[in-house]
């Protein structure tokens, strides 16, 4: 595995700490390395695009400019982003900057305030893109087999849509091979690409909760759900009815467990749903 520039995003320094921990330890275990973008700031999240397009473009553009300035390891252009919302914001900005000279000039006029400029060449890649296309998943990677467990792969929205990059945006399957290689079964369900309500869970909790309960209810036959986005994770862990709760892990936490990596190194005690049963699983790590 190669080296990647790394954009953790705000959530991974706070409420999604365990996502950051597990991404870093997993990439290292797979033989890759991460170089964090220096002085990165917020991507703009949903807030900027709902209030002001030019602020949204400037916030994302700043991080792309810093990526270019930090320099790419291994001569690649890859920026690895674990959060789906950060991924989409950075990728949208990158595509707009590259496609339209006027957009690029406009962003650069703003960035000039900090002596930065952006060309628009970074390849913004979601963690799941990197894991599904840059790694060959074989059972030999997983000494702590997860046989007997059933996992519900939850993809959410923004790593799949609108940019069709590494998976089918209607019926995604890119997690199947890696989960399968751990020995676990993959739950056959329809909810993997359905929306969890995203930021509506905060501003309109009534509707957000219904979406979350639909997803959790459909995962009733699974031992856990795995996610690839801190917003999805937070919504699934906190917004549903108590009787629907099921352990929700970040994908790299689950893969790390099957590799036999220590619970603490994967931040498994930081999740809001109780996942101890999974590690006490007779075959599990």
């Amino acid at each position: 595995m190669k080296s990647y520039l790394y954009y953790p995003g705000c959530s991974l320094t706070g409420t999604a700490k365990e996502y950051d921990l597990s991404v870093r330890v997993l990439i290292e275990r797979l033989g890759g390395s991460l170089v964090e973008i220096e002085d990165w700031t917020c991507c703009g999240a949903t807030a900027a695009q709902s209030v002001d397009s030019s602020i949204a473009l400037a916030l994302a553009g700043r991080n792309l400019a810093l990526a270019e300035k930090t320099g790419f390891p291994d001569g690649t252009d890859d920026v690895l982003v674990p959060c789906s919302a950060c991924y989409l914001n950075l990728k949208t900005a990158q595509a707009d900057i590259k496609a339209d000279k006027a957009v690029k000039a406009g962003v650069n006029r703003v960035l000039a305030q900090e002596n930065l400029s952006v060309e628009g060449h970074p390849m913004v890649r979601h963690l799941l893109d990197v894991l599904s296309r840059d790694v060959v998943w074989e059972p030999s990677l997983f000494p702590a087999s997860m046989e007997g467990l059933v996992v519900a792969p939850y993809y959410g929205c923004q790593c799949l849509r609108p940019f069709k990059v590494f998976d089918d945006p209607e019926s995604p399957r890119s997690m199947d091979a890696m989960i399968g290689a751990t020995g676990a079964g993959v739950l056959d369900w329809e909810m993997g690409a359905q929306c969890c309500g995203a930021s509506n869970a905060t501003t309109k909790p009534e509707s957000g909760r219904i979406l979350v309960d639909n997803i959790l209810g459909a995962a009733r036959d699974a031992h856990c759900i795995v996610t690839v986005c801190p917003m999805c994770q937070m919504n699934l862990e906190t917004c549903g009815k108590k009787e629907n709760w099921v352990p929700v892990l970040y994908l790299p936490q689950f893969l790390g467990l099957a590799m036999g990596i220590d619970r603490d190194a994967l931040g498994l005690g930081l999740n809001l749903t109780d996942n101890r049963e999974l590690t006490e699983h007779p075959q599990g790590g």
């Binding site: 705000c10 700031t41 849509r161 929306c195 309109k204």
Partner: protein, 187 residues
């Protein structure tokens, strides 16, 4: 604030923004694939298809009389499936921006949250989640919501995921960027 009776009474800048959305939506054939694909349609009293029609017919006052445009959670199902290839999620984002700029009642909660969010990152560069939520709850002026979030907040603090910090004063980390970008937007 409430929406003026007709589009003509809007500030010119906002009229131009709405005209841009109208231009984006021109190829719409009213097939309703967007509404059928929308996870939030059941919480809307206007479907996405109806909203596009209102923009095209210059009947935005009816669109903004409803809270439906604020329900979009940016899942991009409509954009993916639109047979005309229209960037519908982006169009909805533009409609949200107009609602926020007019300080409409329907946009009140999201707008409060988004503005506090932007203030937060303007000051610190990265989101300070605890301060953001604290200010949001304060701004809601409703004691019930913070109480319902208290157990979650405590669980987060116990895990060291959020921590109380003194609010920052003085110049913000991203002041220059926000000012320069604001000027470009012409405000």
């Amino acid at each position: 604030m409430s929406f003026p009776e007709t589009k003509e009474k809007l500030p010119p800048k906002i009229r131009r923004d709405l005209d841009r959305v109208k231009e984006m939506l021109k190829p719409c054939i009213q097939c309703g694939t967007c509404s059928a694909s929308c996870p939030n349609a059941e919480f809307m009293d206007l479907t996405p298809r109806q909203m596009w029609r209102m923009v095209l017919m210059d009947q935005v006052e009816s669109l903004y009389a409803s809270h439906s445009f604020t329900m979009c959670s940016a899942c991009y199902w409509c954009t993916l499936r639109c047979p005309r290839g229209l960037e519908l999620t982006r169009a909805m984002g533009e409609l949200k921006q107009v609602g926020a700029r007019l300080k409409l009642e329907a946009s009140k909660h999201s707008d409060l949250f988004y503005r506090l969010f932007l203030d937060n990152i303007r000051q610190y560069g990265r989101v300070r989640e605890m301060e953001l939520m604290g200010r949001y709850f304060w701004g809601l002026k409703n004691p019930i919501t913070p109480i319902s979030y208290a157990p979650l907040g405590l669980a987060m603090m116990r895990r060291g995921k959020i921590k109380p910090e003194l609010p920052g004063h003085g110049p913000g980390k991203l002041d220059a960027l926000f000012e320069a970008a604001g000027k470009r937007e012409g405000k």
